[in-house]
């Protein structure tokens, strides 16, 4: 397996090398490195190399089932043997750079190295597994959740399925090579039951949180990239979180390139995305609450109006009259009053200029003169639209 490690040059690191440091001016080491580099395979081949070894050892069936896991195992091994044990990876060696603690610039302590390896390998894997599973089990859950999850022969098949999945994610913590899956565990033991119900509850909530979480993660990754373009320190989010940076150990033969333009573009893109997100999530809530407030105010104004009418009108003492007065008052408050008959609009009808009157009022005026009573824009009787289906 260690022979295959050379092909596990991680993709992001290579991107880093290409984007930032790789240059032909490394004269003295170039030939040597070139040889090594040419022995490396393409990305796709990289990914399948460890997988290939696994397939030969355990057969195609298992290899297909645990494709992701074998890849993860390869990555973990690679990083443990390089970063984890305080050595350079191939890419780092190639470019004469080494990882140091971001603050002190000293070589990495074991704890920090472990954290970094964890961030770089296991965490992305777990996240991917969780989201994929949530997506696939979504439909199944929605049909099953109405049942009591604690008991059931009916769900036993599903139980064993979930069970396996749980184990797979446990395996992701590093014991992938142990491919023997224990399917004989008693599914009704109280501990596993509790675990299962917790797991199901998490799954139920997961799909709702998932899209937002994924967006947030992508946003963070891009934000990190933007910062990298500006300051040129942390290319990967994992390195930023672990506080691990690169320093160049050899001689610099060329001027360090600047990528501020790229950073600016990313900044613009991120602010647009962020603004859009704000508009979609935060602003509607704000608007809702403001609308609610306005409704409250309208309501109190309406009540005041009724009171005023009450004091003022001797004729309005009759209760039916009072109701009429109130409705009229409301009509004058809103815009639902026809400016031709001065009453609430009957069969509201719109002119091409957007003014609204009663159907009868505006038709009568149209026979007199073909212009809008309010703004005098010309109109034809055939232009009038009675708004049967509008709430005006």
């Amino acid at each position: 397996m260690t022979g295959n490690l050379e092909v596990f040059q991680p993709r992001l690191e290579r991107a880093y090398v290409q984007a930032f440091l790789l240059d032909d001016n490394h004269d003295n080491v170039r030939d040597h490195r070139r040889r090594r580099r040419s022995s490396r395979k393409s990305n796709v081949e990289d990914a399948t190399a460890c997988h290939d070894a696994f397939r030969r050892a355990f057969g195609t069936r298992l290899a297909v089932t645990y494709e992701n896991e074998t890849r993860l195992a390869g990555c973990v091994l690679y990083y443990l043997l390089t970063t984890g044990s305080g050595l350079q990876t191939l890419g780092e060696e190639y470019c004469d750079i080494a990882q140091v603690a971001g603050s002190s610039r000293l070589p990495l302590a074991p704890a920090r190295r472990t954290v970094l390896v964890f961030f770089q390998t296991v965490l992305p894997y777990i996240a991917e597994r969780l989201s994929a599973k949530a997506a696939s089990s979504n439909g199944y859950l929605s049909s099953d959740t109405s049942e009591d999850l604690g008991h059931s022969e009916r769900a036993s098949g599903a139980n064993s399925m979930r069970h396996t999945e749980g184990e797979v994610s446990q395996q992701s913590a590093g014991q992938v090579n142990d491919s023997v899956v224990d399917r004989n565990r008693d599914p009704t033991s109280p501990c596993s039951q509790r675990l299962q119900s917790l797991w199901t509850a998490a799954l139920q909530r997961w799909p709702r949180v998932l899209p937002g979480l994924r967006d947030a993660f992508l946003f963070a990754v891009r934000g990190n990239l933007m910062l990298f373009y500006f300051e040129g320190v942390y290319y990967q989010l994992s390195k930023r979180v672990a506080g691990v940076r690169y320093i160049h150990m050899g001689k610099l033969f060329y001027k360090k390139p600047k990528y501020h333009m790229l950073g600016m573009f990313l900044l613009i893109q991120l602010s647009i995305v962020g603004g859009d997100w704000l508009r979609r999530t935060a602003l509607p809530n704000l608007a809702d609450s403001m609308r609610a407030q306005a409704m409250d105010q309208n309501f109190t104004v309406g009540q005041k109006g009724i009171l005023v009418l009450d004091e003022e009108g001797n004729q309005l003492l009759d209760s039916s009259e009072l109701g009429k007065g109130a409705s009229e008052n409301m009509a004058s408050n809103g815009s639902s009053k026809c400016s031709l008959c001065l009453s609430p609009r009957q069969s509201p009808t719109a002119t091409p200029c957007g003014h609204v009157f009663c159907w009868n009022c505006i038709i009568d005026w149209c026979n007199e003169k073909t212009e809008c009573p309010l703004c005098r824009s010309p109109m034809l009787q055939s232009d009038l639209v009675c708004m049967y289906n509008a709430d005006v």
Partner: protein, 161 residues
């Protein structure tokens, strides 16, 4: 008689609005004939900083049955020296009362338009030729003193009562 019904209903609305907003617009006092809703009288205050200042002018308003499809007939009962008001009959030359009428006008807003006309005489379409000539020849002083005199004579509350 759908039009007369419509005009009655609308005039009744206007009446109620006038009653409600009586205190809001102190320049205009609109009253309706108790027996005939088509006959109205208006008392308007002459606009400030014009020769008509401090005068109270009485208007008679005849509302046709086709109202508001056709404009009301408004004329001055009080003598007024103004280029757009006929000196003898009190007839008013105002576009919104003729060709530019729109049913969105109300009696109240028509009175407001007449006050505006008093403040901004239009010498090019005179009904009172003498007054129009005074203005067109640039004799602003002559026009103002004539108008002020007639305001004192005819529109002064002390004199008329």
């Amino acid at each position: 008689m759908p039009t007369s019904l419509a005009s009655r209903a609308r005039l009744f609305k206007e009446y109620k609005d006038v009653q409600r907003e009586k205190s809001a617009d102190t320049d205009i006092l609109l009253t309706c004939d108790e027996n005939n809703i088509y006959r109205w009288t208006a008392h308007i205050k002459g606009p400030a900083e014009t020769p008509y200042q401090e005068g109270i002018f009485q208007l008679s308003i005849n509302v046709p049955e086709q109202y508001p499809l056709v404009p009301p007939q408004v004329r001055f009962l009080t003598k007024v020296f103004h280029p757009n008001v006929h000196f003898k009959t009190g007839e008013i030359c105002l576009d919104i009362l003729k060709t530019a009428w729109s049913p969105a006008w109300t009696l109240q807003s028509v009175c407001r338009a007449i006050i505006a006309l008093m403040a901004h005489p239009e010498a090019d379409s005179p009904l009172n030729c003498d007054c129009g000539n005074l203005l067109r020849s640039g004799d602003l002083r002559g026009y103002q003193s004539m108008a002020r005199m007639y305001t004192r004579l005819a529109a002064s509350p002390n004199v008329s009562h």
